[in-house]
Amino acid sequence: MFEIGLTHYLVVATLLFVMGIFVMITKRNAIGILIGVEMVLNGANINLVAFNRYNGMGNIDGQIVSLFVIVLAAAEAALAVAICMNFYKNLNTVDVDHGDTLAG
């Protein structure tokens, strides 16, 4: 119980990942979906760092990859918010259910 190992971290990561997916499925708001994506990425990132810590063979490859993930997530968020703005400009809403009109 008090001996924290790899599995503990993986369980937290898994739960965060699944909750992210749940958010992505259930939220109608485009930015809500974006929040779900961030949660999924964070869950994955915990995995990377945890494996690096417990199974890293002395190097930090896992951390470098997680660094890339963070940077990519930031880029993705910037672009996604821009898309949301465009979406809002055209349809006057950010409800993704309205995104099926081609005549945006």
């Binding site: 937290v12 930015i31 949660m39 930090i60 470098i64 821009a82 949301c84 465009n86 950010v94």
Partner: protein
């Protein structure tokens, strides 16, 4: 006490502060001035404290994650996400990945999250815009996610991870990061920088007004 004497005494005050604080000095003449970067471990070496910290972090992550799932208010979701991100950063510190932790804070919490809130502000008509979800959808999503979580957890808990329990645990050092990024990971590093440039231009293009 005459006024003059009082004034002199009051003028002495800063001097006194200076002397008394300075009297506990650490002069740096004997400090090691080597340029090398020693990775200094910040988290405790296992034991109860680490366990407590871990459970606290995990609690915050899961609680705020759950709150995101259940909340209908988009701004509140973003604030809960802040809780998740900060707790994940703390978890990185526990995992001795200090650099990743601070990068998580500065990029995620300080940048991405603000961007998200900014997006919310710009795209919601009323402050408390709500998007109702059908109950059937909610139940379906819950079932799917529960199954998925069960499956993943089963794998995670039962898998035999080849652990190097006795391996030397080192904190990440900046030197390692620099070397890694400019040797083994040079191509992805450059690719990401190009991607960032593309994203910057693309985002500016998409958000601008025709």
């Amino acid at each position: 006490m005459t006024l003059r004497l009082k004034k002199i005494l009051l003028l002495m005050t800063p001097l006194a502060i200076a002397m008394f604080i300075a009297a506990a000095p650490v002069h740096a003449a004997d400090t090691d001035l080597s340029l090398s970067d020693q990775g200094i471990q910040t988290s405790a070496d296992g034991g109860l404290l680490e366990a407590l910290m871990f459970y606290a972090c995990a609690g915050v992550i899961l609680a705020s994650g759950l709150a995101i799932c259940l909340s209908k208010n988009i701004v509140r979701m973003a604030v809960y996400l802040f809780g998740t991100l900060a707790a994940v950063a703390l978890m990185y510190f526990l995992l001795l990945a200090n650099f990743i932790g601070v990068i998580q804070l500065i990029v995620y919490a300080g940048g991405t999250l603000i961007l998200l809130i900014f997006g919310v502000m710009l795209t919601s008509k009323s402050p408390w815009a709500k998007f109702e979800v059908k109950r059937s959808e909610l139940i379906a999503a819950g079932v799917v996610c529960a199954l998925f979580a069960g499956m993943l957890l089963f794998v995670v808990v039962n898998a035999e991870w080849p652990l190097e329990t006795d391996a030397v645990v080192v904190g990440s050092s900046m030197t390692q990061f620099g070397t890694g990024l400019l040797t083994n990971y040079l191509v992805p590093f450059e690719a990401i920088s190009v991607l960032l440039l593309v994203v910057m231009i693309g985002a500016a293009y998409m958000a601008r007004q025709e």
